[in-house]
């Protein structure tokens, strides 16, 4: 049985006090405990940004990669060894800006991995610039007169890309977030969990108070997550009320399901010392 203590690491946490990341960190540890996953069977992949330090704070296997590339890294790991539980962590800039090119493809491939996005709508570790999810008018060092762009809607994008698990959580509600993480990790296929995470230092707009006043839970309004159309409608809800919870969940064949020759097989277990290429050589005479 994995305990909270097992999951702690000796690394000193360097996030700002009250940072929204703490809620995500706690929820993830709780989810691992609830799922009773062995530490050595879980791989945490993170990108660059404040979120990237997750690798330092959870004592499971970890790959702290480069900016924006959490999804292809997680893809490679899971394809090779499907017995691992692979959970990617990215930031909004990491995934929705730098790594946006991988987003729809990862959803399309439906590889049995989870992506948890620390969405604080600002670049934190670079000291405050706008990101893809920053709201119009948001003033930062890179947009001193206010952002002139509408925010990108990752939940809607995931839904129209046929995402098989699309959810949004809020780090201010750790219990709810934990249950979403449990569902996301359990989901057989690619799971997106976008998480509102207040940046207490650089986001003066989307604060704990701001979110507290707005978020409501989809399940409390009996949202039918098998209805993608309805989910899409919900994904555009923004303003006084913002939904969190599971927007859409639907099981579909995973990428590996379509590769029957390696079904359920971990490629790491296949001996490679004597691969015979004689038939190939014969075909070239």
């Amino acid at each position: 049985m994995v305990t909270l203590e097992d999951l702690n690491t000796p690394k000193k946490n360097t996030w700002c006090p009250r940072c929204g990341n703490f809620g995500i960190l706690m929820a993830f540890k709780k989810a691992l405990m609830q799922l009773n996953l062995e530490r050595d069977q879980v791989v945490l992949v993170s990108g660059i940004g404040c979120h990237g330090k997750m690798v330092n704070y959870v004592n499971v296997n970890g790959l702290h990669g480069i900016h924006g590339r959490v999804l292809p890294l997680a893809t490679g790991i899971k394809l090779v060894n499907p017995s691992l539980t692979v959970v990617g962590f990215a930031g909004d800039a990491d995934c929705y800006d730098e790594g946006w090119g991988h987003f729809s493809h990862a959803i399309r491939r439906n590889i049995d991995t989870t992506l948890i996005v620390h969405n604080n709508m600002v670049l934190g570790l670079t000291t405050g610039q706008t990101t893809a999810t920053s709201q119009r008018g948001f003033k930062t060092k890179s947009t001193p007169f206010g952002s002139i762009l509408p925010a990108l809607n990752p939940v809607a994008h995931a839904l129209v890309s046929n995402g098989t698990f699309v959810a949004r959580g809020y780090s201010g509600d750790v219990e709810h977030l934990t249950s979403l993480m449990v569902e996301a990790i359990k989901h057989r296929g690619f799971a997106l969990l976008d998480v509102f995470q207040p940046c207490v230092t650089f986001n003066y707009l989307n604060t704990y108070d701001w979110f507290h006043q707005r978020v409501y839970k989809l399940e409390e309004e009996e949202h039918d997550y098998t209805d993608r159309q309805k989910a899409l409608e919900k994904s555009f809800e923004w303003g006084d009320r913002i939904p969190i919870g599971i927007f859409c969940k639907k099981e579909k064949p995973t990428y590996r399901d379509n590769l029957p020759h390696v079904k359920g097989m971990s490629l790491t277990k296949v001996p490679i010392t004597d691969v015979d290429i004689t038939p190939l050589l014969e075909s070239m005479t």
């Binding site: 330092n56 702290h64 480069i66 590339r69 893809t75 490679g76 790991i77 493809h105 490679i272 050589l281």
Partner: protein
Amino acid sequence: MIVNKISVMIGGEAGAGITRSGFLFAKVCLRGGLHVFGTSDYQSLIRGGHNFYVVRADAEEIYSQTDAIDVLLALNKETFHLHRDELVSGGGILCDGEELGLTDRSLGRDDLKLYSVPLKRFVEELNGALIMRNTVALGAVVALLSYDLEILNGVIRDTFKPKVAILNVKAAKMGYDYAREHYAADFDYRLEGRSSAGKQKIFLTGNEAVGLGAVRAGCRFFAAYPMTPATPLLHFMAPLNREYGMIVVPAESEIAAINMVAGGSFAGVRTMTATSGGGFCLMSEGLGMTGMTETPVVVMLAQRPGPSTGLPTYSGQGDLRFAIHASQGEFPRLIIAPGDVEECFYKTMEAFNLAEKFQIPAILITDKYLVESHGETEPFDQSKIQVDRGLLLIEDEYTGEEEYRRHKITENGVSLRAMPGTKGTIVRTNADEHNESGYTTEDPELTAKMVDKRFRKVDALIKDLENYETVKLYGHEEADVTIVGWGSTKGPIREAMKLLLQEGLKTNYLQIIYLDPFPVANVRKVLNSTKTTVVVENNKTSQLSSLIRQHLLMPVNHKILKYDGRPFNPGKLSQRIKEVL
């Protein structure tokens, strides 16, 4: 009469089956016991334009195309106009004269022979697709050269599906009979094949040889985004995935590809990606990550002329310095440049072994001329190189006394690599500078220690490379001139050496195969005892010369450079060597 020494060019529009036909003809020569070489030239378009393929066959061992052609198989008029002047005196043009409007009088040279065969009419008689005219033409070429039609039939049967093969055998016979009837014994060239030679040798491209090397080395995961001239490697690997238990992913970009294979390698299997210069640019950051995280990957960089898009379907060697320096920061890497199809196979296997043994990225630097030309070789010896996975924990459980640390500081810098999922280990790595356990660090002392740890692997690697053929020396020990090169220039250089010897000039040739770490001792040993050195490269700035100067503090005497996208031809190369001396 010239026997068993011929160069045949097949030319026409893109999409007309030029490469396929050239390949078939080369195989016909190979199965007759001749030595063969085949190279293609095509433009960046799908239909139209001008493509050609040159097959050279000889009773003696050959390494490249020659400067001239003996037979021009022209599928369109443009081919005739573009290549007429490359034909030797007494050379023959085989075409559908009626269709192209070509007659003896319109040739414009009276030392050429026109062999017109009604290719199109025969195909129509057979109710076949127009592309089958190529087979008619091949039949006619076989007749012109008084060669054995049965060998061609055998190749056709091995290449096409049964129904298509039957039709093609008929087509070949029509061309053969027509040429026999009209042009028997008129041509001064003959091939005397021994059909008994049969299927002893293999004939393949550099891409295919690299692919075979990867499969044999146990590559389990290949991800790539198409880019000429590396695309055929993706095409080679993709259909093999089922039989060989691999996963081949067409990635959304080169950035995705390098990161996917890095992830796959971190998970514990041998992985590879392939691209050309533009894609390699995109891979640079990921490559640096594999250096920092000590994750072994093999990358084939198949060069084409740059900068930027350059000449997308042509050849060059302008990316050597780029491969050596790609990505920010300093980290150990391996760069290997095979020079022929045989080396493409064996060096790929070495790349996989060394990448894992030293937990570094290995770059196979090739180019269009090498990976898309066909070469002949003995079937590869599968027992020659054994798979060596280095310090990799393959057991299900780690039972070491101390806690497992992925980046443990060791004497030679190599740490025990465990796969995530191994009981009793937490495998953590980090693109940020990290401590032995993979946790991020910014500590100055530890940073320097970890840099040193990674660079001790270079010392260990250099020592290990003493067991490898990092350079090869061909030719006379006591030579007047030493030619120095790397990669695909090997073939033309070896041909040029033959020509120079005929003129009384003794040369030898130093082929540098391992370019990083640079085999300083081996190169010095040769260059210390040379009279004159000539560096031959397909680039503008002679990047190899600069490496020699950098590592040996030694200038080279002469440089012969070519940067027009085309490989050296041996005749012109030997001329230029004489000129610089």
